[in-house]
């Protein structure tokens, strides 16, 4: 019956489908639906930029307006992937500039972005509105200057945790006086100075500015002037928050803060004097999101005083200087908490991590809506994890990281298998899991049995034998990304179910027991997978031994065969 609907009707119906998964499903129904869908798809998400080529993207979705691309594998974040491994965005922009100039939005993660790419964006897309770069590198503020100068309708420039060189620092002045459309500007990750006068003028003329995240070079007196001009801000990232609490500036800041009743999200404090924090007390009650994870100068007492006032908090990112005691306060004050991330305050410190399983248990007892967790801790116990599982059955993301990657249950000295087992059994909606601590094959048995919705699993220093990995591959039907390091999984596990990898986005294995020969035979058997071996040393040069263990292997499904931009140290088998 539905085949007799005119295409416009179908298109209108499809316009209510926002999730790309729904749209993917719809396009599989029949040819006419496929066609209607593809011409009407505006937003495309590509989780691995090497799974498809830009030309094929454009030929299937000629009207794409928003493109999300991800490049390097996740473990690149932790220095496990070569800097020049790949993930170049330039070919995508070049192709879009030729075939799809309606592009309005580009969201990139872990990609190499050159100034030339940014300049090409600035020149090629007259309606360009939104640029979001997360964990990217390869560009400088010159590229940003090109964007600022040329994108007349720019609404959003959001730079999150990128490595950016800053040769000149005048990019902010490049926004022309005619630019009034900015709604979101985040340059917190930039290391250099900015033209403060230009910043103030920009804020003054962009009446729709809702989100502003400053870098450390913006001092409190400028912050105060900005806030006076933009009381409509919803999301604020303070830059430098160091000043004398007795000064005139501080007083003015306090007063202007009180008027910023729309602020719901607060972050930054890249430089902070804890005695100045009371200036933000008036807005705490309105906050739904607070990120103090870049502010190492705040001690537990002040942190706690602040957080106690944040009764509506849903998302909290904090350093472990908060301690278990501080987490107990969070548990009693922030009843609506959904997401908690506790980072190490000193990543290189070898033993003074300040939170343990007790803090986590307290949070789980006080915050039953908790659904997303990242927790760096010194120790953990099965009992604690079991309690957490019982208290918070709604976890979607659960990432635990013990300082010592193979630490056992701190009380019983047993593996933490049962604790994680309880988590996967109780949290039926769990989509992402990172395990840590002493773990045997048993935990993977539990994961395979219970984690039915699991899409991403991170494993480090865990398991005893190939069986562990096989339990996961067999059991987790929805698995999309599996990343494993330093675990005793070998060829038997790798080759047990080769078809599985075509249902997944990617598999990463480093410092495991997989041999060169096995990788080669996998690559031969599965032409629609790219099996890449990353060699950093000289051992693999010129004729390698099939029996030799592979240091790093990254495989992913692809429709376009081996990529042509891999550096010499990356071999596609």
């Amino acid at each position: 019956m539905v085949n007799y609907f005119p295409e416009e009707v179908l298109e209108h119906v499809f316009s209510f489908l926002t999730s790309h998964r729904d749209r993917n499903a719809v396009s599989l129904v029949c040819k006419s639906w496929y066609n209607v869908e593809r011409f009407s798809r505006g937003k495309v998400f590509i989780g691995n930029c090497y799974a498809i080529s830009p030309e094929r993207l454009i030929s299937r979705f000629p009207r794409v307006r928003s493109l999300t691309l991800k490049g390097k594998p996740h473990f690149a974040d932790f220095n496990l992937v070569l800097h020049d491994w790949g993930g170049y965005v330039y070919p995508w922009i070049e192709a879009m500039a030729k075939g799809c100039t309606n592009l309005e939005e580009l969201r990139l993660k872990r990609m190499l972005v050159s100034d030339a790419s940014l300049e090409l964006i600035a020149k090629s897309f007259p309606n360009f509105k939104s640029l979001v770069l997360v964990s990217c590198e390869g560009f400088t503020t010159d590229g940003l200057a090109a964007i600022a100068s040329n994108c007349r309708f720019l609404r959003e420039l959001d730079l999150q945790e990128n490595e950016v060189e800053d040769p000149r620092g005048q990019w902010l002045s490049c926004f022309p006086d005619s630019c009034t459309s900015l709604a979101s500007l985040n340059f917190a990750c930039l290391k250099g100075e900015v033209n403060l006068a230009a910043l103030e003028r920009l804020v003054a003329r962009c009446r729709n500015l809702k989100s502003l995240r400053l870098n450390h070079a913006v001092p409190p007196d400028v912050l105060q002037k900005i806030l006076a001009r933009a009381p409509q801000l919803v999301d604020l990232g303070a830059g430098s928050f160091v000043h004398d609490p007795e000064s005139e500036t501080y007083n003015k800041l306090k007063n202007v803060m009180q008027k910023c009743t729309s602020i719901r999200s607060l972050s930054g404090f890249l430089d902070v004097n804890a005695r100045c924090l009371p200036a933000i007390y008036p807005i705490c009650i309105n906050l739904s999101s607070l990120n103090l994870s870049y502010a190492p100068g705040i001690y537990s007492k002040e942190l706690v005083k602040l957080i106690r006032k944040c009764k509506k908090l849903q998302c909290l990112w904090i350093l472990d200087t908060i301690g278990d005691k501080g987490l107990r306060v969070v548990a009693s004050a922030c009843k609506e908490l959904q997401e908690l991330r506790v980072f190490k305050s000193d990543p290189n410190d070898v033993g003074n991590a300040a939170v343990t399983e007790e803090g986590l248990v307290a949070i789980s007892a006080g915050c039953p809506n908790l659904n997303s967790l990242l927790y760096f801790c010194r120790q953990m116990t099965n009992t604690a994890l079991i309690t957490v599982a019982k208290n918070c059955p709604n976890f979607i993301r659960f990432r635990l990281c013990t300082l010592d990657p193979i630490t056992p249950d701190a009380v019983t000295m047993q593996p933490l298998d049962n604790g994680f087992g309880a988590i996967v059994q109780s949290c039926k909606g769990l989509k992402r899991l990172s395990v840590s601590g002493l773990l045997t094959d048993q935990v993977f048995l539990y994961i395979g049995m219970y984690a039915e919705q699991l899409e991403m699993l991170s494993i480090a220093f865990a398991g005893n034998s190939d069986k562990g990995m096989v339990y996961v591959l067999n059991g987790c039907k929805k698995l999309k990304k599996l990343e494993i390091r330093d675990s005793p999984f070998g060829n038997m596990a790798l080759l047990a179910d080769t078809g599985k990898y075509e249902t997944m986005r990617s598999l990463w294995m480093s410092s495991c027991k997989v041999t060169f020969g096995a990788c080669k035979s996998l690559a031969e058997k599965m032409p629609r997978l790219n099996v890449e071996i990353i060699n950093e040393g000289d051992e693999m040069e010129g004729g390698s031994d099939d029996r030799q263990n592979v240091e790093k292997m990254y495989l992913y499904r692809t429709l376009v065969g081996p990529r042509k931009d891999a550096p010499d140290s990356v071999w596609t088998l």
Partner: protein, 189 residues
């Protein structure tokens, strides 16, 4: 296993648990495949070729575990943000000190002084002069020298007016003024 029993009743873990050993045996029989903590000391070459069972000590972690590449898994961006704070705390707060008429400048670390008294004493020693006592009304009357400093805004200020902490964070350089120019500063202008 006892821990599981006392808290696991709601989850009924034991009933659904598939165990590696025979029913009735406990977990200790499956302990023989654990890796020792010592193996972690080497970089990532850990497990190549190590397929035999090893007993786990379960004790102290070697200090060199921090050499493991990429552990704990923290983004380099975050590592770089947090670290500089520490080094700033450790290095000094050096400012130039000029004295009118002297051929070259000196440098001192403000962090080593606990207050104005110590600072002024040090300046007196360094330049072989007397600065005297501070008074709010009269500055450094009685001395032909006046210690001044350039603050964040570039203004020339008399040393001693503001609390020490504030001075420490706003002082960019010191200047010891001499003669009539000096006495002009503190005299209630």
């Amino acid at each position: 296993m006892e821990g599981v029993m006392s808290h696991g009743n709601d989850l009924n873990l034991k009933a659904t648990e598939l165990r590696l050993g025979l029913p009735g045996t406990d977990e200790s029989t499956s302990k023989n495949n654990k890796r020792t903590a010592n193996e972690l000391v080497k970089n990532s070459e850990l497990l190549n070729g190590k397929s035999d069972a090893k007993a786990r000590d379960g004790e102290t972690v070697p200090a060199s575990k921090s050499q493991i590449v990429g552990w704990p898994p923290v983004r380099s961006f975050r590592k770089n943000i947090v670290q500089p704070k520490k080094t700033e705390a450790e290095t000094g707060n050096f400012v130039k000190v000029s004295m009118d008429g002297a051929p070259y400048l000196r440098k001192i670390d403000l962090k080593i002084y606990k207050g104005y008294q110590e600072l002024l004493k040090a300046l007196e020693n360094m330049f072989k002069l007397t600065i005297g006592e501070y008074s709010e009304r009269e500055g450094y009357k009685g001395s032909e020298y006046a210690p001044a400093y350039e603050d964040k805004d570039g203004d020339l200020m008399l040393v001693g007016d503001v609390p020490w902490d504030m001075f420490m964070s706003t002082c960019k350089r010191l200047r010891i003024m001499k003669g009539s120019e000096a006495t002009g500063l503190g005299s209630g202008v």
